[in-house]
């Protein structure tokens, strides 16, 4: 079987934030059409990796390639326009704008597609009900749904999603898993930063584990899920402990 085509690749990426050297040579390949989980302890550099891909922090060394383009020095809007959607850890919801207006901003190329909107309402029914309300009034889980809905309101080639289950109730996480399963397709690639290993195991096709600003392991999610010693060595925990 041939190796899947790489959609996004980071090679020797270093990122400094002020005096701090956060990413220290990240090498990461995200295959096209799958769901890659980026795992690691707090402070390992996962969020910085996503922000570096988005051009919110620029790499001081190394390169970021998306499809055939070197996007290392691109401005954030140009990276987004190349087909990358980003859901930040803090959700990036515009609290003063309504749910509708938040989604309108996600629909960059024109009016919201009615069929896609119906699909999103099917995934996240609360959004339909809260449609005319200020997003600041939503609960944490509803804001997370809105943040993801805004990213997927138009088709994109790559979705970067930072800790989608953070602080969410199990029932909402189950809904989120269903949504990601529907989102997975040959045309859609997803890179998710996650701390919830149960969530990661149930969805991930491939996995990369970070530690101290480097990717220390990459491979298939199934292999990591089966190898308890590897889990313990890389993450300090067994996945089973989080189920």
């Amino acid at each position: 079987m041939s190796e899947p085509e790489t959609l996004l690749s980071l090679t020797g990426v270093n990122t400094h934030i002020g005096p701090y050297h956060i990413l220290q040579g990240v090498d990461l390949k995200v295959p096209r059409g799958g769901l890659t989980m980026l795992l690691g302890r707090n402070g390992a550099g996962k969020t910085t990796t996503l922000r570096t891909v988005m051009g919110m922090w620029h790499a001081s060394a190394g390169s970021v390639r998306f499809e055939l383009s070197d996007i290392t020095a691109w401005a954030t809007p140009d990276i987004a326009r190349a087909g990358i959607a980003y859901v930040p850890e803090n959700m990036g919801i515009f609290a003063d704008l309504t749910v509708r207006e938040n989604l309108l901003l996600g629909a960059r190329s024109g009016p919201i597609d009615e069929t896609r909107l119906r699909w999103i309402f099917g995934l996240f029914p609360a959004l339909e009900r809260f449609w005319p309300l200020a997003a600041g009034l939503l609960s944490g889980g509803q804001k997370q749904m809105l943040s993801i809905a805004r990213a997927i309101i138009e088709p994109r080639k790559l979705f970067l999603i930072d800790e989608p289950t953070k602080g969410l109730a199990p029932a909402i996480i189950a809904n989120m898993i269903a949504a990601f399963r529907e989102l997975k397709s040959p045309e859609t690639t997803v890179l998710v930063v996650e701390q919830n290993f149960s969530f990661a195991k149930s969805l991930g096709d491939t996995v990369a584990v970070m530690d101290n600003g480097c990717v220390v392991h990459s491979g298939s999610m199934a292999e990591l899920a089966e190898d308890r010693d590897l889990q313990h060595r890389l993450l300090g925990l067994h996945l089973d402990q989080h189920q």
């Binding site: 809007p77 987004a80 309108l104 901003l105 609360a126 309300l133 939503l138």
Partner: protein, 335 residues
């Protein structure tokens, strides 16, 4: 997860208390002023003055709110706008002196158009040359924009001289309309109309257009707007140009209100403008509108009732508002 129908809808109550402030101040002043006709005259004059202050301040609140730029150069655009309009006094003398509302209005519109064009172009250059190097550096912004204000003022003195230049109102705009015992200056009514048109245009643009949506989102979280694929730097430039042009328009209205042009006219009104922007909530057009009316009517009543307190009344008002709502009347979410 609960089906949507079972979810409890959050309650979104409109915040109307700030809207009641101007009527409350006006009603509180009525027994103190005593005479109903004097009270009506003071109130209408205050509202008209508030409209002019709103026009001047509206651009600054967007620049301040969206770009986090503390632009003291805004005062220069007020002065430049007024002087640019003054350049048309001689060429349009026939229209200005004709006893025709249409001819006078046409002349005023041309003067406003020139003022907005000149200040818009200078605003573009100012943003590109002066502001770009100091984004995200508030202290440097104060230094360079105050510097820009002083330089602009000196250039105006070098070109037009240091003395006051009279700016006579067009013939049909002079005098007052009399309603019983109440006299309302015609020009103040025009200022109210212009102010309302600007307010309506800004509200419609901000609430009904994609550009407006981007501006409101950008005020709240510019980084996320960029992550959604919008080039917010271009939006910044557009807002800065629009803000400068609005300052130019405000300068024309302010110049006619005072019936004089002075090189320091922008600097004189700048403190008032900052007070209005802070009271309203940085980046809030609605807050700026209410703040401007509140400042103006309060100053009018205070000037009538206790002239010695008139100078400090605005500062006192700002302190009271900030003690009540530390981020202004209608704070924008991120601030």
């Amino acid at each position: 997860m609960k089906p949507a129908a079972e979810l409890k809808l959050p309650v979104q109550r409109p915040d109307i208390i700030p809207l009641l402030l101007v009527p409350a101040v006006a009603l509180a002043a009525l027994p103190l002023v005593g005479s109903l006709s004097t009270w009506v005259t003071l109130t209408l004059a205050g509202l008209a003055m508030g409209m002019i202050i709103f026009i001047v301040a509206s651009g600054l609140t967007l620049v301040f709110g969206l770009m986090d730029v503390l632009n003291f150069g805004h005062g220069a655009f007020i002065t430049i706008g007024a002087y640019a309009a003054g350049l048309l006094v001689a060429p349009l003398a026939g229209w200005l002196q004709a006893d025709s509302f249409a001819a006078n209005s046409g002349a005023l519109l041309l003067m406003i158009a020139l003022a907005m064009l000149v200040t818009g172009v200078i605003g573009y250059a100012f943003e590109r040359i002066i502001i770009i190097p100091v984004y995200g550096q508030p202290l440097k912004q104060i230094l360079v924009t105050v510097g820009g204000l002083i330089v602009a003022q000196q250039i105006i003195i070098a070109i037009f001289g240091p003395v006051q230049i009279p700016l006579t109102l067009p013939t049909a705009f002079r005098g007052s309309l009399i309603f019983g015992d109440v006299a309302v200056e015609r020009y103040r009514l025009i200022a109210v109309v212009v102010g309302l048109v600007i307010f309506a245009a800004m509200v419609l643009t901000l609430n009904r257009t994609k550009i407006g949506l981007l501006i409101r989102a950008g005020v709240e979280n510019p980084e996320m707007v960029e992550a959604l694929g919008y080039r917010i730097r271009r939006l910044f430039v557009g807002v800065f140009v629009a803000g400068s042009a609005l300052a130019g328009l405000g300068g024309v209205m302010w110049g006619f209100y005072r019936e004089a042009l002075t090189p320091a006219m922008g600097m004189d009104v700048l403190v008032l403008v900052f007070i209005v922007v802070v009271i309203g909530g940085l980046g809030s057009v609605g807050g700026c509108f209410i703040g401007a009316l509140l400042v103006a009517v309060t100053a009018n009543y205070t000037g009538f009732l206790a002239p010695k307190l008139a100078l400090g009344s605005n500062i006192l008002l700002m302190a009271l508002i900030l003690l009540w709502r530390s981020r202004g009347l209608y704070p924008v979410a991120k601030r």
